[in-house]
Every structure is written in C-alpha cells, then in structure tokens.
C-alpha cells in the first residue's frame, strides 16, 4: 500500500488515494515492451528524436518499486538491450546499472515533487545514462556526434509524465471498488 504522488491536474481527485501493489508480471511485461520499442527499426530523423524507452521504464520501476527492480535487474536488462542492438557487449548494461543506482539514491527526493518537476530531475539521470553509452563508444574510437545526441534523453524526460501515468494505471483503485 502506498500513497499516490501528487500528479497535479492529472489523475485521481484526492492525492491521498491508496494504490494497489504492482504485479511482477506487469513489471516484466512493461520492460519487455520497452525493449521492443527500443529495438523497433527506425531511420533518419526519427533516430535522433527517439528516446530510450527501456531506460524510461526501468527508471520508473527503480523509483517506484525498488524491491522488484534494482541494480542487478537493470544490469541484466542492459545486457539484453546490448544483444538486440549492434553495439559492444556491456555498454548498455553499465549505463543501466548506473541509472538504477541513481534512481535508488534519488528516489525519495524525486517522489516528493509533482510529475512535471519530476521530469526535470529525471532528465539529469537520463542524460547521465546516455553519456555513459557515449563514453564507452569514445573509448572504442568513435567520432563525437555533436549536441544532437542530447535530444534523445531530453525527449525521454518530456515523456516521463506520460509514462508514469501509464505504468501506474493498473495500480489505481477502480472507481466502483473504492466504495468497499
């Protein structure tokens, strides 16, 4: 049982509504959908603008359900992402492990704020994750990509409120059930 964070004009009427617990199968399903969304083939302009969906979902679950998703789970998920993508093995694993650690470190602070302010704080973590991915490629000898590379994590931060509300929907108590 947890208290719903204040979502501003979104969501339920009373901020003190109590959430149902998150189901493990739903956590796994959302991570799988995030992985698939990351692996979907796109080209051209979409490649600059597409955020790291898996990092977003992972960050959400690390902040909300640290018992289910922690540094170890994030590392394994990063390995899966590496296999699906044509990059060096261990690149995303390292980045997601650091992301999960940052989420656990900052989760109490992040949860106090309304959703749009959460997005600003989460942007920092997502940019850090993207920079670690970039750093590993630098060590492997890649040319610097320029400022366009930062568009992707910032778009992810903009999507944070939407992702938060979507992933929390199964935990909201149903309207008809609240009378019991």
């Amino acid at each position: 049982m947890r208290v719903l964070p204040h979502v501003g004009s979104f969501g339920p009427a009373s901020p003190e509504e109590i959430l149902r617990p998150a189901r493990p199968w739903f956590v796994l399903l959302s991570l799988l959908i995030g992985l698939l969304a990351n692996l979907a083939p796109v080209s051209g302009v979409a490649m600059t603008w597409r955020p790291d969906f898996l990092a977003l979902v992972l960050l959400y679950w690390c902040i909300q359900e640290p018992r289910y998703v922690g540094v170890g789970t994030a590392w394994v998920v990063g390995l899966l992402m590496d296999v699906g993508d044509a990059t060096v093995f261990g690149q995303h694993a390292l980045a997601y492990a650091v992301l999960a650690y940052g989420a656990e470190y900052f989760r109490r602070r992040v949860l106090r704020f309304p959703l749009w302010q959460q997005a600003v704080q989460v942007a920092g973590l997502l940019v850090l994750c993207a920079l670690i991915v970039l750093l590993v490629r630098f060590v492997g000898g890649a040319p610097p990509p320029g400022w366009r590379y930062l568009v992707s994590p910032l778009v992810g931060a903009l999507l944070w409120p939407l992702v938060s509300v979507l992933l929390q929907t199964p935990q909201r108590p149903s309207r008809s059930g609240s009378r019991r």
Partner: protein
C-alpha cells in the same frame, strides 16, 4: 544500566547495499567490455541470442513494411506508368552496348589466353534486399535478408547497380550485417580510371565524405576522376565503380593532400543489393627482404607470412 545503542538493527535486510551492487556490476560490465572488444568470446553468445531474437525482429518490421506497401499501392499507378516508359527508353538506348558486350568479352578471353594471363574469375552473386539500417548513429550499417543459409560469407563485397556499397561484416543464419563504405575506417582499394594510379578509399563516418588518405600532393588526381576497385585485396573484383573525386585540397604545409570523394552507389537509399562471393584464393605473399635479413642474422623471424 547499559546505554541504548544508537543504531537500531536493520528491519529490512535486503542484501548488499546499492553502492556495493553498483561496484560489482560496474566491474563486471568493464570486464565484459574488455572481453568483447579484445577476445570476441561473446560473439558466439550473441549469435545464439540473435537467432532467438530473429523472429521478433522480423515481426517488428512488419508494421513498417505493411504501411509502405499500402501507401505505395494507392499512389503508384501514374508513377509506375511514367517509370515504365523511362525504363523502356533506357533499355533501347543501351541495346548496342549490351549486344557489343558479349562480343568484347569473347575477344578479351581469347587475347588473355594468348598472353597466358590467368583468367578473371566470374564471381557468383547473391541478390539480397535491405531490411533496415543499423540503429547506432556512430556506424553506417544495414541489415540484409540473407545469411549463412543462403551461402553469404563474412567479408564478401556488396554492390548495387551503380557501384560498390560495402562489405559483409557479420553473418547470422537468416540475416547479414553489411558495413557501408562510408563507415569510419572502412577501406576499399581503388584505382583511378584515368591514370591507373592505385590508392585506398577510407570512409569517414556519418555525414562526411570518404577520402583517399596518404596521397602525396604531387599525385595526378583531378576533380571528376572516377575511382574503380583495383581488386588487389581479393575482396572486390576489379573494375567496379566506387566513387568520384569531388574536392582536392593541396596545402603546401601538409604532408598529404586531402582528397574527398562522393560514392557513386546509392549508399543510403539502395534497396536491392548484390553480395559477391570471395574471389579465388590469392597465392601466398612472398618473403619480405627485411625478413630474410633478420633470419640470416639469427634474429626473431617475423610472424607475418602468407
């Protein structure tokens, strides 16, 4: 009375702290990165998991392909009629060249036999279709729809109807990865068509022109020269169009001239490609004079042979 201890016992004991876990997984990631870049132990693991992921990847690209098919179906009638007319004209215009080609080929074969030159191989080619481009913004790769099951080998050259596109770098059972020649440090041995000078064309990464590196400023190269493959490395058969020189920068202060080229093939937007088989095995490389001297002096023999 004993004082109350300051630290109460931990109520929720969840194993190692997050920082300890991060340190462990961080070190493990660095070890994996090292192993993957140096020893390629994990290539087999990737192959196996890639096989499992293959149906998933084909399923993922189906919506895009379906959308393209539907939109193409509805808009294409007039465009196809125009294209048909243009292609027919082109076919007629090329007829003399096509008919003369067979005759020239026979004559060429006879002349070469007369001169006892080893006959050029006729590479077998596998027609493939591009599935999608690579997701990494740092590299230029495309994925094509045939793999080891169709006989594609790693290292084979890939061309389209206008020229050389790249080289196959990884093969999976039903898919292959082709690195384009514009990828950073991808090299194609070329020969200038006009003067016959040989050089190597290096890719320069995303958005930059490939260039001929290490050419002396006095080399006879002009803007507009066509570069074709020289066939020296055994990967690409000789004579395939590669690129055209667009800019020659000769700075008297620099040791080398900068020569920028534009690839002639449709690197980014070709849909149908041809994978060429490897050429016939080249004879072993002869001994270098330095190696022979080192052996005579009793020094360590160099390991490079063949």
């Amino acid at each position: 009375m004993r004082p109350i201890t300051v630290d109460p016992p931990a109520f929720f004991n969840r194993g190692p702290s997050p920082l300890a876990r991060l340190a462990f997984f961080g070190i493990l990631s660095l070890a994996l990165l090292f192993a993957d870049t140096r020893y390629r132990y994990l290539e087999n693991v990737r192959q196996t998991v890639a096989i499992a992921l293959y149906p998933l990847q084909r399923a993922l690209e189906m919506p895009g392909a379906a959308f393209a098919y539907v939109s193409g179906y509805f808009g294409a009638n007039r465009r196809m009629a125009d294209e048909n007319a243009t292609l027919r004209q082109e076919l007629v215009a090329r007829a003399p060249a096509t008919q003369g080609y067979v005759r020239e080929q026979d004559e060429n074969a006879r002349l070469r036999a007369l001169l006892d030159v080893r006959t050029q191989f006729a590479p077998t080619a596998i027609a493939v279709q591009v599935l999608y481009a690579g997701r990494d913004p740092f590299t230029q790769k495309v994925f094509v729809d045939k793999g080891t099951s169709a006989g594609v080998q790693a290292g084979a050259g890939v061309i389209d109807e206008n020229g050389v596109v790249g080289q196959v770098t990884r093969v999976f059972p039903y898919m292959s990865e082709v690195t384009l020649l514009t990828d950073r440090d991808q090299a194609v041995p070329v020969q200038v068509e006009r003067s016959g000078a040989r050089s190597v064309l290096f890719g320069n990464g995303t958005g930059r022109s490939p260039e001929l590196r290490f050419t002396s400023p006095s080399a006879d190269l002009r803007v507009g020269d066509r570069l074709v493959t020289s066939g020296l490395d055994g990967t690409y058969p000789p004579g395939l169009a590669v690129a055209q020189i667009v800019d020659v920068v000769r700075d008297s202060g620099q040791m080398f001239a900068r020569i920028f080229c534009k690839p002639l093939a449709g690197i980014d937007h070709s849909e149908f490609l041809l994978v060429l088989s490897q050429s016939a095995a080249l004879p072993a490389r002869p001994e270098e004079p330095g190696d022979v001297d080192a052996l005579k002096k009793g020094g360590r023999a160099r390991g490079r042979r063949g």
